[in-house]
């Protein structure tokens, strides 16, 4: 693939490149989290059916991805262990996984070997991706760059990577769940704990990561400004039954039955 050097980024990696403070902090935090995610990676890679988010809502119920994905050029921003890319590659997409944390990409590489499924993995921040303009039909992020990178940097990058007519699909925490989230790692209740106006950058006392969450109007404005037309906002409701998720700070099922704990935005590059 053609390498475009942006902001001094180097295809060999991000070492030595001056990354923004929040990107450096998130890379360090994800390096610490990587072993835990490595344990879960094989299970995520082995899934035959693609499901969204912590409640495992099947893609076949939501129909978010274009159909078919076969033959599409797909970039996954903040791919982590790259299980989303793996599923898309298995459907015949030409996937490229982008992540800023080497430890996560090591797991992705190990999974590629274990499952005999190869696709390019690029070590880069989603805020500055060393890939060509207009070279992808689909840019996707599930709990990836969508919450760990600054949207005012990564969404313009995603839009730059898309061909006209290409789709941007990303999953983030539900807006209400962010407003109700507790500072400690315990599930939210129904109380609003922080203001909506000014939503953007979030830091939590329990770890050193930096998250980004926007309100609805800000997402729509940002997507429009990046030349993307909003096609859909799928606010996910937890199914009535199923296995609990393993994330102590996220809403429990009773909460996510009433209010969206996750939302998927879908937009088309004009």
């Amino acid at each position: 693939m053609g390498a475009q050097l942006a902001d001094g980024a180097d295809l060999a990696g991000t070492e030595g490149v001056t990354l923004p403070e929040h990107v450096r902090r998130n890379r360090a935090q994800w390096t610490r989290w990587a072993p835990e995610y490595a344990e879960r990676a094989a299970r995520a890679w082995a899934r035959e059916e693609f499901t969204w988010g912590v409640w495992g809502v099947p893609e076949r119920e939501l129909g978010v991805f274009p159909e078919p994905v076969e033959g599409l050029d797909v970039a996954e921003l903040g791919c982590g262990t790259a299980y989303v890319s793996a599923w898309l590659a298995r459907q015949g997409a030409r996937a490229v996984g982008v992540d800023v944390t080497p430890a996560q990409l090591e797991t992705a590489r190990a999974m590629q070997e274990r499952f005999g499924l190869e696709f390019p993995l690029v070590e880069a921040s989603a805020e500055s991706v060393p890939l060509d303009d207009a070279s992808f039909d689909l840019v996707v992020s599930e709990y990836g760059a969508s919450i760990w990178a600054d949207p005012y940097w990564w969404v313009p990058e995603a839009a730059r990577l898309l061909r006209p007519g290409g789709l941007l699909v990303f999953l983030v925490n539900g807006t209400l769940s962010v407003l109700c989230a507790q500072d400690e790692e315990v599930p939210p209740g129904p109380e609003l704990r922080r203001p909506y106006f000014g939503m953007h950058r979030f830091e939590w006392p329990e770890d050193d990561s930096v998250e980004f969450h926007l309100g609805y109007g800000d997402w729509i404005r940002l997507l429009s400004e990046c030349g993307c037309e909003v096609l859909d906002l799928v606010e996910l409701q937890a199914p009535e039954e199923g296995e609990p998720h393993v994330y102590p700070g996220l809403p429990e099922r009773w909460w996510a039955r009433r209010w969206p704990s996750e939302e998927i935005w879908k937009a088309r590059k004009l």
């Binding site: 807006t175 209400l176 407003l179 109700c180 129904p190 109380e191 609003l192 203001p195 909506y196 106006f197 309100g215 609805y216 109007g217 729509i220 404005r221 429009s224 037309e229 909003v230 096609l231 859909d232 906002l233 799928v234 606010e235 409701q237 039955r257 009433r258 209010w259 969206p260 939302e263």
Partner: protein
């Protein structure tokens, strides 16, 4: 047009016919400004720039009340048609129009079923108007039908978040989610009206399926010191933290 009114449109018509006089007495001064202003805190259109230049455009107001907006837009060169579901509100509109020395069509109808031809407007708008009292699954397709290609739908209204945080038991706005977001649609108010609000994703789906492209969602944060005849000081303080009012803009494809 009373035939074919939906059950909630008939109820809302009856309530508004009874309430129009006291409504105009209570809020008429607040919303009767010299220049067009939006919503509960009367923020100037010239600052928000929601409609833009209306001169020479065919403009339809859905739920015009006493036609404060339509009169000002007619003064700015728009060819205005003003619709309301309440005959008593339209009597106020007729008097105000005459006082302003203007004459434009007033239409007595529900926004869910508008007796006007397809593709006859460049702008369809409402300021806390018919959008609150009509079912979005009916009135948005109607608005879209009335718009020419490239035409603008813009409307201000309440928010899902405020609807969720209202406690009927305590009869006040709280900072706790009281009711479900999923399935949010219809609410019966104590004054007998039936009002409508949708989750954000549901609005987007309604626009898209009506052939409208989503342009903007402007969530209104009232400026410090903003006053309203519609809201208590405590409620305005709430609205400084969370959106209580929002304006959608969508474009007919």
């Amino acid at each position: 047009m009373s035939d074919g009114l939906s059950e909630h449109a008939a109820r809302n018509r009856a309530v508004w016919d009874r309430a129009a006089d006291s409504y105009q007495a209570e809020h008429g001064e607040h919303i009767g400004r010299a220049e067009p202003r939006w919503g509960m805190w009367q923020l100037p259109e010239d600052e928000l720039q929601i409609l833009g230049d209306v001169a020479g455009k065919d403009v339809l107001e859905l739920g015009c009340g006493a036609a404060q907006w339509s009169i000002l837009l007619a003064g700015r060169g728009a060819r205005v048609v003003a619709l309301d579901n309440s005959a008593r509100q339209l009597e106020h509109a007729r008097a105000a129009m005459a006082a302003a020395g203007l004459d434009f069509p007033l239409v007595h109808a529900s926004a869910e079923s508008v007796p006007l031809p397809d593709a006859s407007f460049d702008v369809v708008f409402a300021d806390h108007g018919a959008n609150r009292f009509s079912d979005p699954y009916r009135w948005v397709p109607e608005a879209s039908r009335l718009l020419r290609a490239g035409g603008l739908l813009a409307f201000s209204g309440g928010t899902a978040l405020e609807t969720l945080c209202w406690s009927p038991a305590e009869d006040r706005l709280t900072t706790t989610l009281q009711r479900d977001y999923f399935g949010l649609h219809r609410t019966e108010e104590e004054d007998g009206t039936v009002v409508f609000e949708l989750p954000c994703g549901e609005w987007i789906r309604v626009f898209r399926s009506a052939g409208l492209v989503v342009e903007e969602l402007r969530e209104i944060q009232p400026p410090e010191g903003a006053v309203s005849t519609y809201r208590t000081e405590e409620e305005t303080a709430w609205a400084r933290s969370w959106p209580m009012e929002q304006i959608w803009r969508a474009r007919k494809a």
